[in-house]
């Protein structure tokens, strides 16, 4: 403190227009907060779920058993990702406001967009780490089961591998682990990122976390019927111009979560179409930019 007097005379220090380091600091702080809230404990629950379906699977064939493991585990991963994205994002900002932590953060040279990005980034890092761990556990379980089933098939044919056995092994391999499954995990992550950005927007003006969570879940559910709903209503010629405009607005505002549904096909063994990955990535990026800009518009002049 001894040299403070000289520093106190210094002129106003400049603040960069945008600092990735400040965003990173806020994201890591959010990550630490979520870790210390014991968020990752659910990974044990996921591991137990996998062990249960792996060992007490009453499917009629090995291929069906593997398919069940994949469907259940990827379903659980997807459910965790979007639900966590909504709940964590809806709780973090209101809690900062309620505890006045936001005052101390925004009274430092922190821009509001940096704060929003930091919070979103922290939630997405937790989801990213969780999905990666779940994917690895899941991949390990599927491969372990797959190898076991193949070994059973081979040992059941002591006189050499017959065509029938070869067919059975091929079917097991088809329903076993393949690298395309990583795209399904990526789709879950991107879906969670979009739903988190919608939740961020809602939490910038909503008065309670409960409202934010309910509306976010509604948007998420409606977004799954996006194409069907808009095609049906927009095709109605009886609709007047106002209704048509409202429907078009709905089409723009509500994200189309159906773009991520191709991942279900991948889990069931369907071939991967690269164009769909690009479309999904592009639309995710666009949704993130739009919702973050809208969040900033409402948050930038918000008074605390």
């Amino acid at each position: 403190m001894s040299d403070s007097k000289t520093t106190l005379q210094s002129p106003a220090r400049s603040v960069p227009l945008f600092s990735i380091s400040r965003v990173w600091t806020l994201a890591i702080s959010t990550l630490t907060q979520l870790i210390r809230m014991k968020t990752f404990y659910f990974l044990f629950a996921f591991a137990v779920l996998l062990l249960v379906i792996g060992n007490f699977n009453f499917a009629s064939s090995p291929a069906q058993a593997l398919s069940t493991i994949k469907k259940v585990s990827f379903g659980a991963m997807d459910l965790f990702a979007w639900l966590f994205a909504i709940v964590a994002t809806a709780l973090l900002i209101p809690r900062d406001i309620e505890d006045r932590t936001l005052y101390t953060i925004l009274s430092k040279p922190v821009r509001r967009i940096e704060y929003l990005l930091g919070k979103l980034g922290g939630v997405l890092i937790v989801i990213g780490i969780s999905l990666s761990v779940m994917f690895l556990v899941c991949a390990g379980m599927i491969q372990w089961q797959e190898m076991g089933y193949i070994a059973d098939e081979v040992s059941a044919s002591p006189n050499g591998i017959s065509d029938e056995t070869r067919q059975a092994i091929l079917l097991i391999e088809k329903n076993g682990f393949h690298s395309d499954l990583a795209v399904a995990a990526l789709a879950s992550f991107m879906k969670a990122a979009v739903v988190a950005s919608v939740t961020i927007l809602l939490s910038t003006f909503a008065s309670s976390s409960l409202f934010t969570i309910i509306v976010s879940v509604l948007v998420f559910l409606v977004g799954h019927a996006h194409t069907m709903a808009t095609n049906f209503w927009l095709a109605e010629t009886d609709n007047n111009m106002v209704v048509q405009m409202l429907l078009k607005l709905f089409k723009i505002i509500i994200p189309n979560f159906q773009i991520f549904s191709f991942s279900e096909g991948i889990v069931q063994g369907a071939a991967l179409v690269p164009a769909l990955i690009w479309q999904m990535t592009g639309l995710t990026g666009a949704y993130l930019v739009v919702f973050l800009l809208l969040s900033l518009l409402t948050f930038v002049d918000k008074e605390f």
Binding site: R22, T25, T32, R100, S107
Partner: protein, 288 residues
């Protein structure tokens, strides 16, 4: 003359309540200045507009009309935030972080890194006497400790202006005195302190100048001496005065028609001072 640390000119802040279009004037045409290096206290009852004024100075709120400047910069200018350290009333920092992690977090937000940040954190923990609790999570801190880590947080980027909102609210007298001592140390080190409080005794002990605000309007402003001295009265404290001397004094006063005794008796300490004295004595006995 150097630039004022805070310059509030004709500041008015109006809030609308709900959809009924009712308006509440929280701050009404308020003007004052805080000179660089001084400790300025803005006092007033709850709801008088102190915190609103503070939030406008911090850039957390926009003025309905008028202006607020910090070292010549508009309070909405992000560069002004580099010059300000802020401690809100009853601060709740992230409970999951330790004292040291909290300072590291705020330091990084201010762009301080590496050994500079490490040294700064060590200095501040020493200043607020929390070196032994540096690795404890804030969830386990007492109210006084939270206020002190909060004070350290305000100083992390070595700002020129420190804004404190009710810094001793809810803190026991010992903790309260520690915070007062820290404020006096800040003044000694050349910081400008802008303090909002309704604890008059505290303000009296640390502030150079005081503004008294009621219903968003400045009622009185000046140095402490100007504000609290009663020009028409004179106090005299005597030591070892004999009854004879007291009798002579009484006779002398009685001989003057205009003069009179308003109060007479043995001077008293305050309950707060007595409490601190007992606490200190207890501490000494325990350590002996």
């Amino acid at each position: 003359m150097s630039e004022p640390a805070v310059e509030v000119k004709n500041l008015t802040k109006v809030f609308s309540t709900g959809l009924s279009k009712n308006y509440v004037v929280a701050v009404d045409n308020l003007s004052f200045e805080v000179a660089a290096g001084e400790v300025y206290g803005l006092i007033g009852p709850n709801g008088s507009g102190k915190s609103t004024t503070m939030k406008v100075v911090l850039g957390l709120m926009a003025a309905s009309s008028g202006s607020a400047k910090v070292f010549g910069l508009d309070s909405g200018d992000i560069r002004a935030r580099n010059e300000i350290g802020f401690l809100p009333e009853n601060p709740y920092f992230y409970k999951h972080l330790s004292g040291e992690e909290t300072l590291k977090f705020y330091g990084k937000l201010c762009g301080i890194k590496g050994s500079e940040l490490k040294d700064r954190i060590a200095d501040l923990l020493k200043l607020v006497d929390l070196e032994n609790a540096a690795n404890r999570r804030l969830g386990g801190y007492s109210k006084g400790m939270l206020q002190r880590i909060g004070l350290a947080q305000t100083l992390i980027q070595n700002p020129r202006l420190v804004i404190l909102d009710e810094p001793t609210a809810g803190v026991d007298p010992v903790g309260s005195r520690q915070i007062r001592d820290l404020i006096l140390k800040l003044k000694e080190d050349g910081y400008t302190v802008f303090l909002c409080s309704h604890l008059l005794e505290q303000v009296q002990e640390v502030c150079d100048r005081v503004g008294i605000i009621f219903k968003g309007r400045m009622r009185r402003e000046g140095t402490l001496d100007e504000l609290i001295q009663i020009d028409s009265q004179t106090a005299m404290t005597l030591e070892n005065a004999s009854p004879e001397l007291m009798s002579k004094i009484h006779d002398l006063i009685a001989s003057d028609e205009a003069a009179g005794i308003i109060e007479e008796g043995h001077p008293r300490t305050t309950l707060e001072r007595l409490f601190i004295q007992i606490a200190d004595q207890n501490k000494k006995e325990e350590s002996a």
